[in-house]
């Protein structure tokens, strides 16, 4: 073996020593921090978040120290530095070894014994490891001396490890407290542990186990429906209960110690099902062909099965027969499902007048309180009777969604009248602002009228005018009519007002008159002149009424109208008995009133006993969870703020709760949007 080879062996020994030393110091630092945290936690409990942070600091600190040592001794990898280190300790080499390294020639150190160098390196390595080994040993002894629970809380912090705490033992066995929540299997959710639970949210059917330290004897949980005594489990007690659909306040008592745990159930909602095909109810002239069906279903935890259902009703008057069936049934898993099938109308042997009622249904996987059933809206497919006109069957469609924001002409007149009445007391700018707002609604309604005319003529609904600034907009009744007719090519001479015989004119004239009147009205309103606009608006209303009267259809025929002559029936003047005394119903908001009283009491209690006030708010929250979730949410914030002594946050949350309960005060600095509220 050459001198250089021997030198490389020495370097390897030194590197091992450096690495071991860095590892030992790093481990010592990490263990020291964890031991310190464990001791501090035993004296004063440290929160889970802080413990997780401190464990991270321990790991990072250990690594930092280890890397610091490695960085400081990084030169140990360089062969010339190792050679110098040997030359320092073996002066007889007289720099021959350094020269050999620099020249890469071992002949400079021929005859020198190399075993001494390796011994030197081993001796050096062991001497440098003594200090960290001793420190690590001492830290380990401290760690072993601590209770295992305390070390686990510092070294492996996790939710639910409160019971491993060493401090806090005493007469109060419900402090610390851990809740374990096991959701039902079908939900696929994981088990959860909660330290010091106050407000537990869990799926209905979940099993909640409350655990504490000490003997079970005397520890009792009370709910509105039940009293449960704790069971022993080694050196701990536990109480198990199942989450029902109603919110529950669990009152835990151990002698004079009391604490409340609120359990808020999460109810598994039934699937949401939408029938996407067919889109609308419809009437078929012939009962043949295949009808494609499609539906979408979604669920919060999972869908188990889905299908289409149909009912065929036949007959009329007092005689009806029915048959029903299921189509496209599928077993499913997952939270979303697309369902499709085809209904053969021929196979149903339908006759004129028959109605097929179609819907989609889906069941969820809830095996606790379910399965939940979700159903779509029902579509009716009717087979037309002989001699029945399709138009009669389809004209009764509801207005499209886009028109639902249009205010009626009657309401616009009321607004304009109210504005005119208040005009002397309002500033000009206010009058102009309000008047222009009414004008905007008047324009919307005018556009809707124009769309109706176009739609009835078979044109595009928005063909009349896209914007008010369109240069091609219709400005007069004749213009409007001509544009409508040219869009549909219905008549040779659409603007035939002289004889009034054109069918286009006959059908649309009242609406077109309304259109023109609305145009004049909106122009006047734009200028802030409601008094000028009102006659035009009334003319428009009359025209609309005329159109409605002219075209009213009674799809079922006019119902029989029997008017009872009450005086005649009562043989007026005779006493025919009296009804029982009427008792007034409870006011609709009686629950809200009671809650307002309870809220006031809780606030009153908060002045003297914040803990009791927080419990009162929690109980009030449980009561309100089912039917007033917003109020309950505000109460949860208030209870939390009261408990931690945050007066400002508590005040805000309580104010929010009260606003939800009794409504916000209303301030108006201008005319009401509806104009008729004084």
């Amino acid at each position: 073996m050459s001198a250089l080879d021997r030198l490389r062996r020495v370097r390897a020994v030194l590197i091992v020593g450096v690495v071991l030393r860095a590892v030992l110091w790093g481990t010592f630092v990490a263990i020291s921090i964890i031991a310190t945290v464990a001791i501090a936690d035993a004296i004063t409990p440290i929160g889970l978040t802080l413990r997780i942070l401190l464990r991270a600091i321990a790991i990072v600190g250990g690594l930092a120290v280890g890397f610091t040592f490695l960085w400081r001794d990084r030169r140990v990898r360089e062969l010339d530095r190792v050679a110098l280190w040997i030359e320092e300790r073996v002066p007889s080499l007289a720099f021959a070894l350094v020269t050999a390294v620099e020249m890469s020639d071992s002949t400079f150190v021929v005859g020198v014994r190399s075993s001494d160098w390796t011994t030197l390196a081993w001796r050096r390595g062991f001497s440098r490891l003594a200090a960290p080994l001793a420190a690590l040993l001492a830290a380990s002894v401290v760690l072993l001396a601590l209770p295992s629970g305390a070390v686990a809380r510092a070294g492996r912090p996790r939710p639910g490890d409160s019971l491993a705490r060493t401090s806090g033992t005493g007469a109060n066995r419900i402090e610390p407290l851990v809740a374990e929540v096991r959701p039902p299997v079908y939900s696929g959710q994981r088990r959860q542990e909660i330290d010091e639970p106050r407000d537990v949210r869990a799926l209905v059917g979940s099993v909640i186990t409350l655990r504490g330290r000490g003997d079970a004897n005397g520890v009792v949980a009370t709910t509105s429906a039940d009293t449960i005594r704790a069971a022993s489990d080694a050196d701990r007690w536990q109480i198990t209960l199942r989450v029902s659909a109603r919110p529950v306040a669990i009152r835990l008592t151990d002698g004079r110690h009391v604490r409340i745990v609120a359990v808020e159930p999460i109810v598994d909602a039934p699937p949401q099902v939408a029938l996407t095909r067919p889109v609308h109810d419809t009437v078929l002239r012939t009962p043949s062909g295949r009808l494609p069906l499609a539906a979408e279903a979604t669920d919060d935890y999972g869908i188990a099965s889905a299908s289409f259902e149909y009912i065929v009703s036949s007959g009329e008057g007092e005689t009806f027969t029915f048959k029903s069936g299921v189509l496209g049934a599928v077993r499913a898993s997952g939270k979303q499902l697309q369902l499709a099938a085809t209904l053969s109308l021929d196979s149903l042997h339908l006759k004129p007048g028959d109605i097929v009622h179609l819907r989609a249904v889906a069941h969820d996987a809830n095996d606790v309180g379910g399965p939940g059933l979700g159903v779509s809206d029902t579509r009716a497919i009717r087979i037309a009777r002989a001699g029945e006109y399709d138009s009669v069957a389809v004209d009764a469609a509801a207005p499209p969604d886009a028109q639902q924001d249009v205010i009626s002409e009657r309401m616009l007149i009321m607004l304009a009248e109210a504005l005119e009445k208040q005009r002397p007391r309002l500033a000009h700018d206010s009058v102009l602002h309000e008047s222009q707002a009414i004008a905007a609604d008047q324009k919307k309604l005018r556009r809707a009228i124009g769309d109706v005319v176009f739609t009835r003529l078979g044109g595009v609904p928005t063909g009349e005018e896209h914007t008010d600034d369109s240069p091609e907009r219709a400005k007069t009744m004749q213009d409007m009519l001509a544009r409508a007719d040219s869009a549909t090519n219905r008549s040779v001479d659409p603007v035939d007002f002289e004889g009034g015989e054109s069918p286009v004119v006959a059908v649309n004239k009242p609406l077109l008159e309304a259109y023109n009147a609305m145009w004049d009205a909106s122009t006047a309103l734009e200028l802030g002149e409601p008094d000028t606009a009102l006659p035009h608006m009334r003319r428009a209303l009359a025209a609309i009424q005329q159109a409605r009267q002219a075209e009213r259809l009674y799809l079922r025929g006019a119902p029989a109208s029997v008017v009872i002559d009450i005086d005649k029936v009562r043989l007026k003047g005779k006493d025919k008995g009296a009804s029982s005394a009427r008792r007034p119903e409870m006011p609709i908001d009686s629950a809200a009133s009671l809650r307002a009283v309870r809220l006031d009491r809780a606030i009153e209690v908060a002045r003297t006993n914040s803990s009791a006030a927080a419990d009162s708010l929690l109980l009030l929250r449980i009561d309100a969870l089912a039917d007033a979730p917003t109020f309950a949410s505000a109460l949860a914030d208030a209870a939390a703020a009261v408990r931690r002594g945050d007066g400002a946050a508590a005040t805000n949350a309580l104010a929010r709760a009260r606003r939800v309960l009794v409504g916000s005060p209303v301030a108006r600095d201008s005319l009401s949007r509806w104009g008729i509220i004084p």
């Binding site: 029915f322 009562r570 025919k576 009804s579």
Partner: protein, 203 residues
């Protein structure tokens, strides 16, 4: 709300809601005949999806065809019973195996709550006239429909008060005649309607 009682018939999208057109007048006549309750001389037809539903304490619903509420109807009916209204549903098919019965009971369960049997000593049966249970109808005695004489009505009750009353007895057929024809009856078969109205107004 008007000071006088107005008999309201529910209009719903899925079925033949107007299958008993003479019944409202007949009931109004009965109310006028036996009580001094201020009553409107004609009834009204109120869509279940319309907010006008809340004006009426008692709403009558009947038909032969499947009862499938739209979302708007379901929401409104739920609010109606929440506010203390009484929905009286009568199966015009008088058939427990019929489609009206199956779909209406399912829809009521979904919208309000499942129906349960109403005991025959319920205050409804003594709210004005005294009955030992729901009066039978000629249709069930003649063996029409399901060929059964139903001994109980069904109901959804809240805090001891009926929110939804459901009948398989086909009062819609029994009471669907012009009030002038009452004079041919030895016993007025519409008297139970007085109990319904009085109960709806006072309970």
């Amino acid at each position: 709300m008007s000071a006088e009682f107005v008999f309201a018939t529910a209009q719903y999208e899925s079925g033949d809601w107007d299958s008993a057109p003479l019944l409202p007048a007949n009931i109004i006549d009965t109310i006028a005949r036996y009580t001094e309750i201020p009553v409107a001389p004609t009834g009204v037809i109120v869509p279940l999806s319309d907010a006008r539903l809340f004006r009426y304490p008692l709403v009558y619903l009947t038909g032969h065809l499947p009862v499938r509420f739209s979302d708007a109807e379901r929401t409104n009916v739920r609010a109606f019973v929440d506010r203390g209204g009484l929905l009286f549903v009568d199966d015009h098919n008088h058939d427990i195996d019929g489609t009206f019965h199956k779909t209406a009971t399912e829809e009521i369960a979904r919208t309000v709550a499942p129906l349960t049997e109403l005991p025959n000593d319920h205050p409804l049966y003594s709210a004005f006239f005294k009955f030992d249970g729901p009066p039978t109808t000629s249709h069930e005695l003649n063996g029409w429909g399901d060929n059964l004489v139903h001994k109980h009505l069904l109901a959804v009750q809240r805090r001891g008060r009926i929110s939804v009353l459901y009948s398989n007895k086909d009062y819609s057929s029994e009471w669907n005649y012009h009030p002038d024809n009452k004079r041919f009856l030895s016993v007025d078969n519409t008297r139970f309607a007085v109990n319904l109205v009085v109960y709806a107004l006072t309970a």
